[in-house]
């Protein structure tokens, strides 16, 4: 059952490359949250019940509802354009995401280690690579936040890969990190939107002291 969700996660990465509408990014992030919930639900059942419930709540509440809801609010408040044109044609992005998926599956095939669950490693590696690529190709600060969240989902999967007995503290830290990051960036976007009436990052290079 875990494999099913891992494959679905790979498909969401492909749709991230295809879509150009900002609203779709928010939807896809939410769907990724549900998929992470599924992965955790079907794989992490030997850990303590409190940790288990906490991680489940983290995926379903934070990743599926709160973060997408918050960035959707930011999107509405700043009257973002419906479509963000990436600087690289979408055609090439799709090829890049497919190649990164193939590479990460092949790499995990060769990683025969007892300490790493390679099934999570596959999509997590692809997700981190793609998140970085996503940030590079978009010229809009809102999309940078989305890229950051894609990387973060990849890191969450990576933490599953390196052992299901992840300390509670680490988990809390990552969660706090993400929430703060998104909140701070949200405030930042709002401020930029108020000052420049646009969220394109070229505006920022004009700043002088």
């Amino acid at each position: 059952m875990t494999y099913l969700f891992i494959i679905l996660y790979a498909i969401t990465l492909i749709y991230f490359a295809l879509s150009e509408r900002v609203k779709k990014f928010v939807w896809l992030l939410s769907i990724q949250g549900v998929i992470l919930f599924g992965i955790v639900f079907f794989s992490l059942n030997e850990i303590e019940i409190f940790d288990f419930i906490f991680i489940l709540a983290e995926t379903i509440l934070v990743k599926t509802i709160i973060v997408p809801w918050f960035i959707n609010k930011v999107r509405k408040r700043n009257n973002l354009k419906r479509i963000h044109e990436p600087s690289v044609p979408v055609f090439y992005s799709i090829i890049v995401v497919v190649i990164s998926l193939l590479i990460s599956f092949l790499v995990s095939n060769h990683l025969q280690s007892n300490y790493i669950h390679t099934k999570y490693f596959t999509v997590s590696f692809a997700s981190i690579l793609f998140g970085i690529y996503f940030i590079i190709i978009h010229k809009n600060i809102f999309s940078h936040v989305v890229g950051y969240l894609i990387i973060e989902n990849g890191i969450f999967l990576l933490s599953l890969a390196v052992g299901s007995e992840m300390p509670m503290m680490v988990n809390m830290a990552i969660l706090l990190d993400v929430l703060m990051g998104v909140l701070v960036l949200g405030v930042f976007i709002n401020r930029i939107g108020n000052t420049f009436e646009s969220t394109r990052i070229e505006q920022l290079s004009n700043l002088k002291d």
Partner: protein
């Protein structure tokens, strides 16, 4: 033999159901289901008009197009019903038979010497080229999964028994529906109802065909829809079902497929021409995910 008859039978109604559903959704008066057949019969009664600039290629192309679609139908099994012809690796032959027909139509469009038709042929060739890897990766993955390389054996051994096999089944049906739409030049890539030559893809290629030839082209397009519908139904029908259930399921799936096409065409806006390549390449990307899934199931990629 039965599978061929079923495909021919369902092809008669396929486009009729689509246009009927589209008329219903647009709140127009519905044409009879057999309206496309009546149209083709009317076309068959007429003679064909040929331009002075055309050569023999233009005259034989519709015949070859029709023949290739008909021969491709001979290879298509339905569930455990055998096709008329079958050999190892016949899916490659099948794909290139359809490609041969398309190639002849492209040549014929070039043969007329019209700028518009050359442009349409150019687009059609480009889209077919993009959609080809999707088809081969998909059928190749299913071949890897079932360890067989002829259509009949491949679908006979395609058992949906695990979660991952469901992914292969669902993704394959999804990809094949859109491959059928691209190959038949239907809505998301091309609008069969458009009236402007500049935005046409398939329609502009057949502008110069008339009478008997045009009728043949229409019949081939029904046949192609029906063949792809049969291909989709093979992913759903299991060989272990009873004989009459398989036939009922086939007809049901053809009906559902034609209704899907009708609904898609009524509600989906046509892509911008520049967005078409990226939309088509996504089919190949999903096929690659299917391929990775097949690798995981067959333990070619070992994950722990």
């Amino acid at each position: 033999m039965i599978s061929l008859l079923l495909i021919l039978f369902s092809s008669l109604f396929f486009v009729g159901i689509i246009i009927r559903l589209k008329a219903k959704i647009a709140a127009r008066k519905m044409p009879p289901v057999l309206q496309p057949v009546y149209d083709v019969i009317r076309l068959f009664r007429k003679g064909a008009v040929y331009s002075n600039t055309t050569s023999i290629i233009f005259k034989v192309a519709p015949l070859i197009y029709f023949a290739s679609a008909l021969v491709a139908a001979l290879f298509m099994p339905i569930g455990s019903l055998k096709p008329l012809l079958s050999f190892e690796g016949d899916f490659v032959f099948f794909a290139y038979l359809l490609a041969l027909g398309k190639f002849m139509m492209i040549l014929a469009a070039m043969d007329t010497g019209s700028g518009f038709e050359g442009m349409g042929a150019n687009r059609e060739a480009f889209y077919s080229m993009l959609v080809e890897p999707a088809f081969f990766i998909l059928i190749g993955s299913v071949a890897l999964f079932t360890d067989n390389i002829s259509f009949h054996a491949l679908f006979l051994n395609f058992n949906v028994d695990s979660n991952l096999a469901y992914i292969i089944g669902i993704a394959s049906v999804y990809v094949l529906i859109f491959i059928a739409m691209v190959e038949n030049s239907r809505m998301p890539v091309d609008d069969p109802k458009t009236h402007l030559e500049l935005t046409m893809v398939h329609e502009v290629m057949i502008l110069d065909n008339s009478g008997f030839d045009l009728g043949l082209i229409h019949i081939s397009s029904w046949l192609k829809f029906s063949i792809y519908g049969a291909l989709i139904s093979n992913f759903i029908i299991q060989g272990s079902w009873a004989f009459y259930w398989q036939i009922a399921a086939f007809l049901g799936i053809q009906l559902a497929f034609s209704l899907t096409v009708g609904v898609l065409e009524s509600f989906k806006a046509r892509n911008k021409l520049e967005k078409n390549p990226q939309w088509i390449i996504i089919l190949s990307a999903i096929s690659i995910v299917v391929f990775l899934t097949a690798l995981i199931i067959t333990q070619k990629i070992i994950l722990n």
